[in-house]
C-alpha cells in the first residue's frame, strides 16, 4: 500500500485545517496506510509542546510526525521545545518519499 505523506505548512493557531489533517492522518493510519506528517514553513509552530494542535493525538495513534529543521531555524524554535514523538528532518524527506512512490499531499 502506498504511503501517505501530508506536508503541513500552516500554523494551527491561524487555521483549522491542520487539525483536520491530523484527524485525516489518524484515520488513514488506522486504515493501515503508513502515514507521515511533515511540518514545514509555519507548520513548524505546531510541533511545539505548548502549541495548539492535534499532533499529540496523531503521534499516539501511530502517525509519524517530522518537522523541517530549516523551518525551525527560521522561526527560532528550539528542538528541546518540541512535542514528544516528533522528529526533526530535512526537506530531503519529502523528496525521498516522492521517489519511493508515496502519495504526497501539500497543505
Amino acid at each position: 500500500m502506498r504511503e501517505l505523506l501530508i506536508v503541513e505548512t500552516r500554523d494551527a493557531a491561524d487555521h483549522k485545517d491542520p487539525e483536520r489533517m491530523a484527524d485525516l492522518a489518524i484515520g488513514t493510519s488506522k486504515a493501515g496506510i503508513p502515514t507521515t506528517i511533515f511540518l514545514a514553513e509555519n507548520g513548524a509552530f505546531n510541533a511545539r509542546a505548548n502549541g495548539e494542535s492535534r499532533l499529540g493525538a496523531a503521534v499516539s495513534k501511530g502517525v509519524r510526525v517530522a518537522v523541517d529543521r530549516f523551518a525551525l531555524t527560521e522561526r527560532a524554535i528550539d528542538e528541546a521545545a518540541l512535542m514528544d514523538g516528533i522528529s526533526v528532518g530535512d526537506i530531503d524527506l519529502v523528496v525521498d518519499r516522492l521517489a519511493d512512490g508515496a502519495c504526497v499531499m501539500w497543505r
Binding site: T9, R10, A40, E41, N42, F70, D90, I91, D92, V94, V95, L98, A99, G101, A102, V104, W106
Partner: protein, 137 residues
C-alpha cells in the same frame, strides 16, 4: 544501469511573496543533489520565478547598498540549479504555462526555460515517477 528517477513539481506562487518559493526550490535542489531528473511546470504567478529582469535593490531603511543587501533573486537560484544538474547526472526541464506568461508579460525568462500548456503538464506527470502539486497558500 539503474533508471534515474524523474520527479515533477507543479508550482503556482509568484516570487517574493511566499515561503512556498524557497521550500519548492529547496525540494528541487535536493532532487538534483540525488541525481533525479526534475520537471517543473510553473503556472499563474510562478511563471515569473525565472523572469530574466529581476533586479536586486538596496535597503535604504537599513542604509545598505545593493552589494551589502545581497538581495536573493529566484532567477539566480534557478539558473544555478540548472547549471549544477549535469554535474549530478540530472536534468532540469522547466516549463512555463504560456497563457500565464502572456497575461503577465513575462516571456523574457532565463535561458533554458520553455513555454508550454497544461497538456505538457499531463505529459510530464505521465512520464514521471511521481508528481507533487505545490498550490498557493
Amino acid at each position: 544501469m539503474k533508471h534515474p528517477k524523474t520527479l515533477t513539481f507543479v508550482l503556482m506562487d509568484a516570487p517574493f511573496e511566499s515561503s512556498r518559493t524557497a521550500t519548492a526550490l529547496r525540494m528541487i535542489d535536493a532532487s538534483i543533489q540525488r541525481g533525479f531528473n526534475v520537471n517543473v511546470f510553473a503556472y499563474e504567478g510562478a511563471v515569473m520565478l525565472p523572469f530574466r529582469h529581476q533586479q536586486p535593490h538596496p535597503n535604504l531603511v537599513h542604509g545598505r547598498d545593493v552589494g551589502e543587501e545581497d538581495h536573493p533573486l529566484p532567477r539566480e537560484w534557478i539558473a544555478g540549479m540548472m547549471a549544477m544538474a549535469p554535474d549530478r547526472g540530472a536534468a532540469v526541464n522547466w516549463v512555463n504555462c504560456g497563457l500565464c506568461v502572456d497575461e503577465r508579460g513575462g516571456a523574457d525568462s532565463i535561458e533554458g526555460v520553455q513555454r508550454g500548456t497544461p497538456a505538457d503538464l499531463w505529459k510530464l506527470a505521465t512520464a514521471s515517477d511521481n508528481t507533487l502539486v505545490v498550490p498557493t497558500a
